[in-house]
């Protein structure tokens, strides 16, 4: 700060109470900078260490001893940990202390210009200009007024007139806006975290609910809304690539006495009601109905079993075999281009993922395509990618499947496999099923392809996907955020204050009129540490004074 008495602080330098000393300590630059750096460093940890995952994830990645240590220090829910909250609280206290400490002084200089001040002993800049204006205080005041100076005091020093002009009286308020803004943003965040909530709600179509699941560390608690939410309709559209392009839900809030409000929400357009906001966050399968057929290759006769079930359901046969209906995909967009580098996107239609787990054949996930029943697609546990192959025919073609079984039985008795013995086995299988030899070529190709595929992949079952009825749920993010109006106002304050602090300055200019020498002496004081803007200010002033003298003189 300058040595000018106008700027001298009516500060608490005499007072030495513990509160004052605490404020001085908290607001001191080393403490403030240390706290800022601590927040930055601590935040870094939280971005490198994935937050709020289940313990198994951490144990698998870090080992049990690291897990115990970091968990004890709350590193996995870092932003909610006591020590991070403590640092943030100290930072807010430090900023508040700075407001208390410097506030009075900045308020003091924001008052109107008091009495005339003498020519300063040390200025931030100035110049001397020979001009006939030296005799005309009115003209000089006019020039300064044109440059935005609003407050004037005039006096006399050693018989020479002296003029003091000031602008930017309120520029110091930027300090209050910025620091007050930061404190208010943090208070807004605190209000939200204490009085608000943020949870999820998965609503199947045509269903109603009033329970919100709120994450609490890595567990959940339920929260009851004062009304019910109904998902009237969920809609989704896709790009040609199969990526979702937009999804939306028609939501209706209703109570005992009927509907309250209804709106179609999309990803960037939520529904707000009584301080609670419903966001379109995700979507998923709420148990779509599916029909498929199981072709059991491990039982003689390759029996068929029709299944009518739903996604997420599990089927067990009581002998350790378990089928889980994992996922229904309505679209499977694939690049069908034959040339490399080209794209020819086509939709292969719906597919169903079924997970099979049995003691004899382990874990296999099948992907069955409705439009391509003869295609084999599956992955065994541990496989990175799916294996694709061709069965040669659709397993629902009973005739071919039975022929396959008969052929496998014949082939199983062979000691040596060669084209001739294969052909003989095939002919025997054809005869067993009383199939005309005229169809040998057609059937032979199909059965040979299937036999080779099954021999390679050793699949215990085949499936035929025959139909589905989609049932989707809409994934809602439900939040109550009572702190947000305060946060937004504080953000506006922060930005305005920053602009004021950086680009607005309190400028005071003294002009001394030397009539004998026909010259003006000018000096100036600028608030703040950065004196650079003064150069352009003075250059403009000198230019204006020059042109003013040429018009009057």
């Amino acid at each position: 700060m300058s040595n000018d008495p106008e700027n001298r602080t009516p500060d608490n330098s005499q007072a030495s109470g513990i509160a004052v000393r605490l404020i001085r300590f908290l607001s001191s630059m080393p403490v403030a900078v240390t706290l800022l750096c601590l927040v930055a460093l601590a935040s870094t940890i939280g971005t490198v260490l994935v937050q709020n995952r289940e313990p198994d994830y951490y144990i698998a990645n870090l080992g049990p001893s690291w897990y115990r240590l970091l968990d004890a220090l709350d590193f996995f829910d870092m932003y909610g940990s006591w020590w991070f909250i403590t640092i943030m609280t100290l930072l807010v206290l430090s900023v508040s202390a700075a407001l208390l400490r410097h506030g009075p002084r900045f308020w003091h200089v924001s008052r109107p210009l008091q009495a005339m001040r003498p020519w300063p002993k040390r200025s931030d800049g100035g110049f001397t200009l020979a001009t006939p204006l030296a005799a005309d205080t009115q003209a000089v005041e006019g020039v300064l007024r044109r440059l935005g100076y609003t407050e004037f005091r005039s006096g006399e020093e050693q018989g020479r007139p002296l003029l003091l002009a000031r602008k930017g009286r309120y520029s110091r308020l930027g300090f209050f806006f910025v620091h007050g803004g930061v404190v208010l943003i943090c208070i807004g965040g605190l209000i939200t975290s204490q009085l608000g909530f943020r949870g999820v709600m998965n609503l199947p179509e045509a269903e109603s609910d009033d329970k919100v699941y709120v994450q609490d560390g890595n567990s959940y608690r339920t929260l009851q809304l004062p009304f019910k939410v109904r998902n009237d309709d969920f809609a989704i559209s896709f790009y040609k690539t199969g990526m979702p392009s937009e999804y939306s839900s028609q939501l209706t809030l209703h109570g005992e006495d009927g509907d309250i409000i209804s709106k179609r929400i999309t990803v960037n357009d939520p529904l707000r009601y009584q301080g609670i906001t419903f966001y379109q966050a995700s979507f998923g399968d709420a148990g779509s109905g599916v029909n498929f057929t199981i072709h059991d290759l491990t039982t003689p006769g390759f029996p068929e079993q029709r299944v009518e079930s739903a996604v997420h359901k599990e089927l067990e046969d009581g002998m350790g075999l378990k089928l889980t209906i994992k996922e229904l995909r309505q679209h499977n967009v694939m690049n069908m281009a034959t040339e490399e580098g080209k794209t020819d996107l086509q939709d292969a239609g719906a597919s169903l993922d079924i997970h099979l787990s049995s003691p004899s054949s382990g874990n296999i996930t099948y992907r069955i395509y409705m439009a391509y029943p003869h295609m084999l697609a599956f992955g065994r546990t541990g496989d990175e990618e799916m294996t694709y192959d061709n069965l040669g025919f659709a397993p629902a073609e009973r005739e071919k499947l039975q022929l396959l079984e008969a052929y496998l039985a014949e082939v199983g008795q062979l000691k040596v496999r060669d084209p001739d013995s294969n052909r003989a086995a095939f002919t025997q299988a054809m005869e067993k099923l009383q199939l005309p030899l005229s169809r040998a070529t057609e059937l032979g190709t199909a059965v040979a392809t299937a036999e080779s595929a099954l021999r390679t992949h050793k699949l215990p079952m085949l499936f035929t996907f025959s139909g589905y009825k989609p049932k989707m749920y809409t994934g809602l993010q439900v939040a109550r955020d009572p702190g947000s109006p305060l946060v937004w106002s504080a953000c506006a304050l922060l930005v305005i204050g920053l602009y004021m602090m950086i680009y607005m300055h309190e400028k005071r200019i003294w002009v001394r009129f030397d009539r004998e020498q026909q010259q003006l002496e000018v000096c100036a004081l600028l608030s703040g540490k950065d004196k650079h803007p003064l150069n352009t200010t003075l250059a403009r002033l000198q230019q204006e004074l020059g042109s003013a003298s040429s018009t009057t003189g």
């Binding site: 935040s43 100035g126 110049f127 392009s245 922060l494 650079h532 250059a539 403009r540 020059g546």
Partner: protein, 338 residues
Amino acid sequence: MNNTTVINGAPVQPPRSIWGYWLAMLVLTLGLAGLAITGEADRLAPGIPFIDLLSYKLTGYANVLLGAATLLYLAHLWFTQPAVGKWATGLATAGMIGLLVALLTRWFETHQVLEEGHVPISNLYEVTIFFTALTTLIYLILESLSRNRHPGAFVLPIVMAGIAFELWLVSRGQAGPQNLVPALKSYWMHAHVLANFIGYGAFAVACGGGVMYLVRQRAEARGNSDGMVMRVVPGLGECDNLMYRSIAIGFITFTIATILGAAWAYDAWGGYWSWDPKETWSLIVWITYAVYLHLRFVKGWAGSRMAWWAILGFGVTLFCFIGVNMFLSGLHSYGQLS
């Protein structure tokens, strides 16, 4: 009446107005973009490979111009004739306008090539072009104010590094226009990304100023008063000022960008702050420059410490810009490499 003003014993030139010049450049950019778009209008069809797009070719030509500008700025350190500097400025301006025209063209192209068009600042390739254009623009605006062309030799190499990264992305096949995920379809995106990249660009210019400061300071310490650096690199005060002014612009726009991002997140994700890695890193960037401003305003720090701060601060900024997308996962994952 003499026109040079002497203040505190040193000549100071009165500020000059640059509005007219930059307004003309804006009109030129929009006009050229209009031409490019009309030229391309009936040629496009969905699924056209991105290397056949006019915007891709324009970006290439603009990159060449910026490369030439960089070489000229560097040459200007040794060849101090004003013509060299003027050509450097001219080429850099042409390259910068070329990039902006390319982006505006691509904006139009996305509407032709994709099912739904969008502003082309939605993946890492596009924003890298935007970053190189804005860094050059901010530098050129500051240059037109200070009338000193030598700092270009310290800022344009950062732009070249950006271009190198952009070409690497092309080689990884990341340059094609892509469909937007639903969360990105918002008008907040335009303002948020624009403000962010003005901030990043300004911090890049400040980094150049920091390097320039350190170079000048080493030359002064060696005491060789008629070496190349002493003749052409601006004085320490001016370097410091370039740093401060860039960081001031950057800090305000970056603050606005972060607030806009929070407002957007409030509409799309249901909360203005989720401690997502990108959010957290933008807070870290904000703190880094907040500390810079405190040290300068309150402690009156200047000199090499602040120069290092500006350089390291840009390192933090770069991590926020690129590193988070490449190394960390989170809600901003659409900027990720695939």
